[in-house]
Subunit: 361 residues, 2 copies
Amino acid sequence: MKAKLVLLALGHFAVFAFLTAAGCNRQPAAPAATVPPTAVEQAAAALPSWNDGKAKQAIVNFVARVTKEDSPDFVSPAERIATFDNDGTLWAEQPLYVQFLFAIDRVKALAPQHPEWKDKEPFASLLKGDLNGVLAAGEHSLMAIVASTHSGLTTEEFEKVAKDWIATARHPKTGRLYAEMAYQPMLELLAYLRTNGFRTFIVSGGGIEFMRAFAEQVYGVPPEQVIGSSGKLKFGLRDGTPVLVKVPEIEFIDDKDGKPVAIQKFIGRRPIAAFGNSDGDLQMLQWTAAGTGTRFCLYVHHTDAEREWAYDRQSSIGRLDKGLDEAQAKGWTVVDIKQDWKSIFPPARRGQASNARRPPP
Amino acid sequence: MKAKLVLLALGHFAVFAFLTAAGCNRQPAAPAATVPPTAVEQAAAALPSWNDGKAKQAIVNFVARVTKEDSPDFVSPAERIATFDNDGTLWAEQPLYVQFLFAIDRVKALAPQHPEWKDKEPFASLLKGDLNGVLAAGEHSLMAIVASTHSGLTTEEFEKVAKDWIATARHPKTGRLYAEMAYQPMLELLAYLRTNGFRTFIVSGGGIEFMRAFAEQVYGVPPEQVIGSSGKLKFGLRDGTPVLVKVPEIEFIDDKDGKPVAIQKFIGRRPIAAFGNSDGDLQMLQWTAAGTGTRFCLYVHHTDAEREWAYDRQSSIGRLDKGLDEAQAKGWTVVDIKQDWKSIFPPARRGQASNARRPPP
């Protein structure tokens, strides 16, 4: 799905020094006194994992403005569309995109049915744990992995495979379930926006069918509000029953320019708020910011090497370079994870470490 | 958008003899006594333009079953997805698809800026009112018309053009506004389903941006629940402002096999009810029917030459041939317009005839 990103990603596992981020809203922040006390109180209760600071204040001010009926900035609930990138914005994307880890596990699971893979690249390298060997074969090899692991299945078969994996697979570094690698402050933000009449959409480079397998359970975002990259589907009959089969052909990459295009196609309304963490989200934020009325754009800046990862301008995964400049120039809100987030991940379920496939660091 | 359909359509304006349709539900109809009186009463009030008969009874039985909490057929509101074709199912499609009439009017409106069209096909024929001449130039000529009238505009410019047209243009035969060519019984059905916790989606071969320009006003269906054929969009800057521009390239045809594919892509859930009127809707109904649990499939059969049009197996617009056979074989509900609909169109606004571009018949 995201061959180019994944290709780049595999080349650079290192994480990079963090930069301090300046956070501010596009619209001058209203004095705190103009925000009704109820909104402040509601936000304090709804966003416990956010430290008090510019980012939280900008969010609360924005929500208060667009939901106050007698405000000139009032937006009807139907137009309260908020779009979120997934990888690096709602859950961790280091050291590799989760979907690629899924594809690697699929190759391993399917290997017994494919004895020929032992001598065939990129599978041979991957099965030996040699990711550099996979990379050496180039983009074509990554497409072969995605094609072999994501296609040929019906949409229902794929959903089951993805759901089963998400329910049991664990992060290579933390040993947590992937659902536990979602960012607690962002889970609170999603719920806070929904409580205030927003509809929250995911608009991400990840595969649409893959993300739908967990988005409702993890984020409370139903399938029809998940937009992603997609492979082609083919309608046909299997034993007389209509099925949709995934075929190994990329249809759409929901990244960069693709994000506003997908928003227009799937939603048909311009978001009033957009949330991302990389240059791949920049066009979505630009499109959102360019609408009339009050708009809110936010970048999550990964600045916390201790509790999560620190990376931005030089990272091959989730590079935030042009976006950081534009956020600063336009006064978008930038979350400095180290400063703004009281906690990063939700509490882990019991027994996580003992089930970890790879030992935690 | 629908070049092939339109091509066929232009070749055959005649309407054909009607067939009597047998209507029945896929699941054996529950005895009337099992339907709570409240549901029957609610339906009587909600569906005043439907005659009492098999079709109305099948609708009411289905809704009662899936909404009754202690019923084994109960379906949670989140899964109550109903998909509707547009042309011929929600509004009239004779003598030509409305969107093609829109494109013709666009050529006329743009002609002063294109003096070269006077000598260039298919525009020359079209401007002389010679639709057969347009046809003679083949599919390519129709694509040229669509490209010249739908593309180059930003999505916002196109929306305005389409909304302005829909607000003023009138049907060539009846002199009615197109909003008044919607089927009153189907408007009632849409509202009845929504009252019962359904979300109603349009899944149609028409252009997605064109349909969104009127779907909320006419049908109460918001943009994010309208799925259709699409041309490509290009993201870019105009005078420093981000825009999405329609480019003359077809991206997706939402017809036949395309309908279940689009449903999966946009909604990610299988509908529990689907409504169509032509063979182009068959795969959507098959996909809907093949799900587990109680399902409802309905074909609108155009049998009323006097009050509307009568056409089915031989029609080049909205041909219903294989679909009619399959509906009968599988016991899907078939609406016989002549028998089942008390009235066809909503009351017309005053002054319609005097504003008609072409005299009513």
